[in-house]
Subunit: 224 residues, 2 copies
């Protein structure tokens, strides 16, 4: 059995500013226990040292069970690896460091995801050497308060159209949650990223379990 | 002639949010032309990609003339080096990545400065292997609007007392500018860091030249 593409299934963007005051690592633990396969830590409000501490705490829950990716801060990833922490890679956006430099810094085995949501982004990705990027984060499907700078929402029809042109597997993102897995899967996404649907849920574990179940059913329906 | 300790003399913290709308690289060019020996780029309001672009632009002015250090973002430093840009090191604070990890990431030849302004900070520095840190940034001498989280201002008497206990050469920082070089030098600092005194000056080059002249005279007076 081959390893699935990073980002497959339900993908939690664990946003330190969206936890309603609860420890981020607790929410990550709940998500992993519920079967979420990829965790991206997004800690724009934290210092590098605090981010590394969060990654260290979360790695205890993700190691050997889920992928742990860090948003933007390649140095926190490298420091974590140097300190022996099980972080698996980074996810970067169009305003972060250029992807080829990031790949050269993290090495060939680390997971590298890139936010790419326009035909121009896709064209740039197409010029990169094979293996530079593992998956694309594509959206926003809907408007979301989590990211202020997202482009005009695509909707599921826009997502479907965009993914059909994508040079790499896409994870759908942007205001997604309960009830969306079927449409995200049908749009061609390999995974569905959520932020508030788990981070801000009253019971993050139940919310994550329901999303994982929804995604699993969507996958079975199509593959049947 | 041996190379002076990094941070010696007038040290510009080129803060991207303090330029009154002028290009940061223009201010850095002015400072280097006036004889400023160390430039630290502090770009908290910029993305990693924008920070790298600023470093690239500034390196054209600093290469072979002044040290170019980057604040906090070790990944931007590493990306710059990987891209062939002449960046010389990083300056980190107590909330940034742990210093030993940073040293392991940047290698033995890069310059590494650390903000350290209490006896507790000094005690932690004293436990580090020799060569981990090149110099300390010590302050705030005065309150400053540039950094919101600085400790209680030391004044020059507090600075003198603190530097007398420091395990490494100290660069004085915090609200310093015209007329302060004599007292900063007399306090035992190897250099004087300024932000607004150059970044926000009507004529950054003249302001930098006056500070360099002031520091040079202070050094000569003591050494005479």
């Amino acid at each position: 059995m081959s390893t699935p593409t990073p980002g497959t299934g339900i993908y939690l963007v664990a946003n330190s500013a969206s936890t309603a005051g609860r420890p981020l690592a607790d929410i990550v633990a709940d998500a992993v226990a519920a079967g979420v396969g990829t965790i991206q830590l997004r800690c724009k409000d934290l210092s590098a040292r605090e981010f590394l501490a969060e990654a260290t705490a979360c790695a205890e829950h993700t190691a050997d069970r889920a992928l742990l990716l860090l948003n933007d801060r390649v140095d926190v990833y490298l420091a974590g690896r140097a300190a022996g922490i099980r972080v698996d890679g980074v996810h970067i956006g169009q305003k972060d460091l250029p992807v080829e430099l990031v790949r050269s810094l993290i090495g060939p085995d680390a997971v590298l995801g890139l936010s790419a949501s326009t035909e121009e982004h896709f064209a740039a990705v197409s010029t990169l050497p094979a293996g530079t990027i593992d998956y694309l984060g594509t959206g926003a499907v809907r408007a979301t308060p989590t990211k202020k700078d997202h482009p005009t929402p695509l909707g599921f029809s826009g997502l479907t159209s965009l993914i059909s042109q994508a040079p790499l597997p896409c994870v759908a993102i942007g205001g997604l949650g309960s009830g969306d897995a079927g449409e995200a899967h049908a749009a061609g996404a390999i995974g569905m990223a959520v932020v508030r649907a788990i981070c801000s849920a009253e019971n993050p574990r139940d919310a994550a379990a329901a999303l994982v179940d929804e995604w699993t059913r969507a996958s079975r329906t199509v593959n049947a």
